[in-house]
């Protein structure tokens, strides 16, 4: 075997893939050739250097951003983005809604004809009815279709439709408290597209939203899939927004909402009992809670919920199976940790940590 032939085998040698015959020939040559031995050492060092490069980790929040981009944007979120476009944050958009509602009340009070109309109308609402009923519709079907329709119709048409319920006040309950309630509903919907949002938010027991959620989830998912995801993406690109901006906003919106009310894949996790139940003792509960959430995020998982159980905070997390050992190691550093694990083959472990001091 020549020196060239020998050196051509170095890569296969480094990958431990030589046939026994090749190996024997290589060894025989190396035994008598100092040059090739030196070359082999240098070659081996180079390969070792490259292999010492740490495998990269996707940035925290990557999974959420992909999921947000993969699914058509629900129309309330789309509307929220429209409303908040001239301003930096959502609360201003919500404030605008409040302002519109407030003005409507003032106008209504100022108009005796309208009050008379309201008194005459004891029957359910007329022309404005479809919009509010759509707002409270629990099904994902109408939402998804509305989303497309809204996108097609463009900003002005949708804005008109959404503001409409407030404009002809006679059609809706005229008292200011009711009006405020409506705005609250609208605000909730801006923050969250979940059909089961309300029930999830008002309950602190994990089982209640869990029972409510499953029937809605598969349907919503199917509907989201039935709308070509590319349409949403291209539409948003056409709007001149980058995906990154959209998803950043979307995640901000989600952060504004109560953790239990999170949509989509979250619901599935809530529906099942946790794979791991843990008790963490820490001097500062809120610091430990934040650290756990940050830790889950850093390991490619995230927070899925939060509740109070017997006066103690329970943080619900989704942790990738591959990062679970790391999660336990780092969580132990926060304080004494006890764990109860169930066998599961899921890739995303559901972890409920009770934090107390």
């Amino acid at each position: 075997m020549t020196c060239t032939e020998t050196r051509d085998l170095f890569s296969v040698l480094a990958d431990d893939a030589l046939t026994p015959a090749e190996r024997a020939a290589l060894d025989a040559h190396l035994a008598g050739c100092a040059d090739c031995r030196r070359e082999l050492v240098a070659f081996g060092r180079t390969v070792a250097l490259v292999r010492a490069i740490d495998p990269a980790h996707a940035p925290a929040g990557f999974v959420d951003r992909v999921l947000a981009a993969a699914r058509p944007e629900p129309w309330p979120r789309w509307l929220a983005r429209r409303l908040s476009a001239p301003w930096p944050t959502l609360p201003l958009g919500a404030a605008a809604l409040l302002l519109i509602a407030g003005l409507a009340v003032l106008l209504f009070r100022a108009s005796p004809e309208q009050q008379q109309t309201a008194r005459d109308q004891s029957a359910p609402p007329g022309p404005a009815a479809p919009a509010p009923s759509r707002e409270t519709a629990p099904s994902g079907v109408s939402d998804s279709r509305e989303a497309d329709a809204s996108r097609d119709a463009g900003a002005s048409a949708t804005a008109t439709r959404e503001v409409a319920p407030a404009a002809p006040p006679a059609a809706r309950a005229p008292e200011p408290p009711a009006r405020a309630g409506d705005v609250e509903v609208a605000k909730n919907r801006l923050e969250q597209a979940a059909p089961a949002t309300k029930s999830a938010e008002t309950s602190v027991e994990p089982t209640t939203p869990a029972r409510d959620a499953p029937p809605a989830e598969p349907r919503a998912m199917t509907d989201r899939q039935s709308v070509a995801p590319s349409t949403a993406l291209e539409g948003r690109r056409a709007n001149g927004d980058s995906i990154a901006t959209d998803t950043a906003k979307a995640s901000r919106l989600r952060q504004d909402a109560a953790p239990l009310s999170r949509t989509g894949p979250m619901t599935g996790i809530l529906a099942a009992p946790p794979d791991v139940t843990a008790q963490l003792r820490a001097a500062d509960v809120s610091v430990a809670e934040r650290s756990l959430i940050e830790l889950a995020g850093r390991l490619g998982g995230r927070q899925t919920g939060r509740r109070i159980d017997g006066g103690r905070v329970v943080v619900e997390l989704a942790v990738p199976r591959e990062a679970y050992a790391q999660f336990v190691r780092e969580a132990t550093a926060l304080g004494p940790l006890s764990l109860e694990q169930q066998t599961t083959d899921r890739l995303l472990l559901s972890v409920a940590v009770t934090v107390s001091n």
């Binding site: 240098a42 250097l49 490259v50 990269a56 990557f62 998912m221 490619g300």
Partner: protein, 184 residues
């Protein structure tokens, strides 16, 4: 080097095809680091790598119905990532001043300043040497020595024969060795 790719998570493909709500999420979770990793090492910018990695999963999401299961999910995703990276690298408007971040996290921190400086110099040289490889060789090198794929998996990922994998990899390593000669 990353741990071996291994078999697909059991049942995941079937659940993806059936439209299981959580299956796609599990796919992203299971392969996010691998897909992001190959994009980062090829493109050198974390922002650009994330953009490409997102696109990989979105394409997979749209195309899962057409995936016939001849390859594994892992090599399929690596394949999409590889194509998107090569396309991106070939695009004329891509800025040249990329690559600084590609290996930014190569070195483990060391307490000794002199060793750290030496290590930093070596890392810089390694970074430059890898960035200087022809793209097809760099891709094979990254898939093998950083991402830990076998020759067969790389052949499956890139739809080339194992002999081509072997020769590209060998040339890439030889080229690196020459560039890093002075550190020997």
């Amino acid at each position: 080097m990353r741990e071996a790719l291994g078999a697909d998570p059991p049942g995941l493909l079937e659940r993806l095809r059936a439209g299981d709500a959580r299956a796609f999420e599990e796919l992203v979770i299971a392969y996010q680091h691998r897909v992001f990793g190959v994009a980062l090492r090829m493109l050198g910018s974390r922002a650009e790598a994330e953009e490409i990695a997102q696109e990989v999963f979105l394409r997979a999401y749209r195309a899962i119905g057409e995936f016939r299961g001849e390859a594994r999910l892992g090599t399929w995703l690596y394949g999409i990532a590889s194509r998107l990276c090569l396309n991106r690298l070939a695009s004329p408007d891509r800025r040249l001043a990329r690559g600084d971040e590609a290996l930014a996290d190569v070195a483990a921190p060391t307490p000794d300043a002199a060793i750290a400086a030496e290590r930093a110099e070596l890392d810089a040289a390694l970074r430059a040497a890898i960035a200087g490889l022809p793209e097809d060789r760099r891709l094979v090198l990254v898939l093998r020595d950083v991402e830990g794929l076998s020759y067969e998996e790389i052949a499956e990922t890139l739809a080339i024969d194992p002999g081509t994998v072997r020769s590209r990899l060998h040339r890439a390593r030889l080229q690196l060795k020459e560039k890093l000669e002075r550190f020997a």
